[in-house]
C-alpha cells in the first residue's frame, strides 16, 4: 500500500525574527508537524530565485520564506526585497507549472512562537491538499 502523501516543506527563516520564533515554538513545546526543514538565513532578503527553484527541482513541495514584520527588518529593507523577489518567483512558478501557491511569504516575529506553529500547520494543510510537487524528486 502506498504511504499517504507527507509534504516536504523548506522554510527559510530570518535569524532575527522567524528563526527565533521557531525556536520559541520549540522551547514552548508547541506541537507542529515534523515535515518542515528550517534553513536559517541572516535576512529574508538573502533569498533569491535560485534558492527557491533549486529546492523545487530537488522535489520540495512547498517553500516558506519567513522574515520580520514590515518596518522591523534588522537590515532596514531586506524584507521589502524578499517580498518583491517572492512575487517574481511566484509569477515564474505559475508559468512553469509549479504553481504560485507552493511559495509562501510570512512575517513572523521572535515572540510569535505560536504563530510560527500555526503558519507551518496551515501551510502543510494547504500543500497536502494540493498534492506533491509535480516534478517529483526525493528531497
Amino acid at each position: 500500500m502506498k504511504a499517504p502523501f507527507e509534504p516536504k516543506i523548506l522554510a527559510f527563516c530570518c535569524n532575527w525574527c522567524a528563526y527565533s520564533g521557531a525556536d520559541l515554538a520549540g522551547t514552548s513545546r508547541l506541537q507542529y508537524p515534523p515535515n518542515v526543514k528550517i534553513v536559517r538565513v541572516m535576512c529574508s532578503g538573502r533569498i533569491d530565485p535560485g534558492h527557491i527553484f533549486r529546492a523545487f527541482e530537488t522535489g520540495v513541495d512547498g517553500i516558506l520564506v519567513a522574515g520580520c514584520h514590515p518596518g522591523e527588518c534588522h537590515y532596514i529593507s531586506g524584507n521589502e526585497r524578499a517580498e518583491e523577489r517572492v512575487e517574481t518567483a511566484k509569477a515564474v512558478a505559475e508559468i512553469i507549472g509549479i504553481g504560485k501557491d507552493r511559495i509562501r511569504l510570512e512575517w513572523i516575529s521572535a515572540s510569535e512562537g505560536l504563530r510560527f506553529a500555526e503558519v507551518i500547520e496551515d501551510f502543510i494543510k494547504e500543500i497536502r491538499a494540493k498534492g506533491p510537487n509535480p516534478v517529483g524528486g526525493d528531497a
Partner: protein
C-alpha cells in the same frame, strides 16, 4: 555597460520547446554585472527550465556554462565541444554575444534569453539608466557631460522643449529633463554659449541611419 533583461518566461519556453539538449550559456561581463545573464542567472533559469520540462514529462537536458565574454571569438571558440553535444544554445548574453555565437556555430539553433535594452550605468543597485546611444558623433564636451541624444525624449539639440517643467520631462515626471541639467551645468561653468547658439541639423549617418556601422583601425588589422 550593456544592459539586458531576461525575456518573459513564456517566450523562453516557446523558444526552447523544439529542443531536447540545450546549452544555457552565460556571459561573464556586462550582463553579469547587470544581473541578467551571468552564472547566477544561468543557474536560476536552468532550474526553472528543468522543473517545467519535468512537469510536462519532457526529456530536456540543460547544460549550464558561463564564459568570460560572448562577444569575442577566443572565448566563444573554447566552447566548441560543448556546442557540438547539444542541439541548441540559449545565450544569456546581449545581442552582440548571441550573434557571435550564431556566427561561429551556424549549424546550431541559437536562442536569445535576454532582451538587450541599452547602454548605461547603475544609478543605484538594481536600477540602470540609459545614457549613450552610440550615435558616433559625441557632443558631451559641449553639453556639460549630459547626452541630449539619449536623455532628451525628442533628442533635441537646441534646448528644452515647452514641456520642460520643474526639471522634469513632459513624458514622465520620473524622467529628468536632460536640457535642464545641461543648462545648470553649463551655467555654473560659464559655458552657456553652446546652448545659446544655433545648433544645425545633426548628421545621423554615423548613428545607424547610414547603415550598419563598422570600425576599422587599419594599423591593427591582422588578416
Amino acid at each position: 555597460m550593456i544592459v539586458g533583461e531576461r525575456k518573459p518566461m513564456g517566450e523562453i519556453l516557446e523558444m526552447i520547446a523544439p529542443h531536447e539538449k540545450v546549452l544555457l550559456l552565460g556571459c561573464g561581463t556586462c550582463v553579469t554585472v547587470c544581473l541578467a545573464g551571468g552564472e547566477r542567472e544561468v543557474g536560476i533559469l536552468a532550474a526553472q527550465l528543468r522543473i517545467h520540462a519535468k512537469k510536462e514529462g519532457k526529456d530536456l537536458q540543460i547544460e549550464e556554462h558561463t564564459i568570460e565574454r560572448q562577444c569575442e571569438n577566443e572565448w566563444v571558440d573554447e566552447i566548441k565541444s560543448r556546442v557540438e553535444g547539444v542541439d541548441a544554445v540559449m545565450s544569456m548574453a546581449c545581442g552582440v554575444g548571441v550573434q557571435l555565437v550564431a556566427e561561429m556555430y551556424p549549424e546550431k539553433a541559437i536562442l536569445p534569453a535576454l532582451n538587450t535594452t541599452f547602454m548605461g550605468y547603475p544609478v543605484q543597485h538594481g536600477t540602470w539608466l540609459e545614457n549613450c546611444r552610440g550615435c558616433g558623433n559625441c557632443v558631451l564636451h559641449l553639453s556639460g557631460g549630459v547626452c541630449p541624444i539619449t536623455r532628451c525624449a525628442k533628442s533635441l539639440m537646441n534646448g528644452p522643449c515647452g514641456g520642460s517643467q520643474d526639471g522634469k520631462c513632459e513624458i514622465d515626471e520620473d524622467i529628468e529633463c536632460a536640457w535642464q541639467v545641461i543648462y545648470e551645468r553649463l551655467k555654473s561653468g560659464g559655458r552657456l554659449d553652446w546652448m545659446n547658439n544655433y545648433q544645425p541639423p545633426r548628421n545621423w549617418s554615423t548613428a545607424g541611419s547610414g547603415g550598419p556601422r563598422k570600425s576599422v583601425k587599419i594599423e591593427e588589422v591582422v588578416d
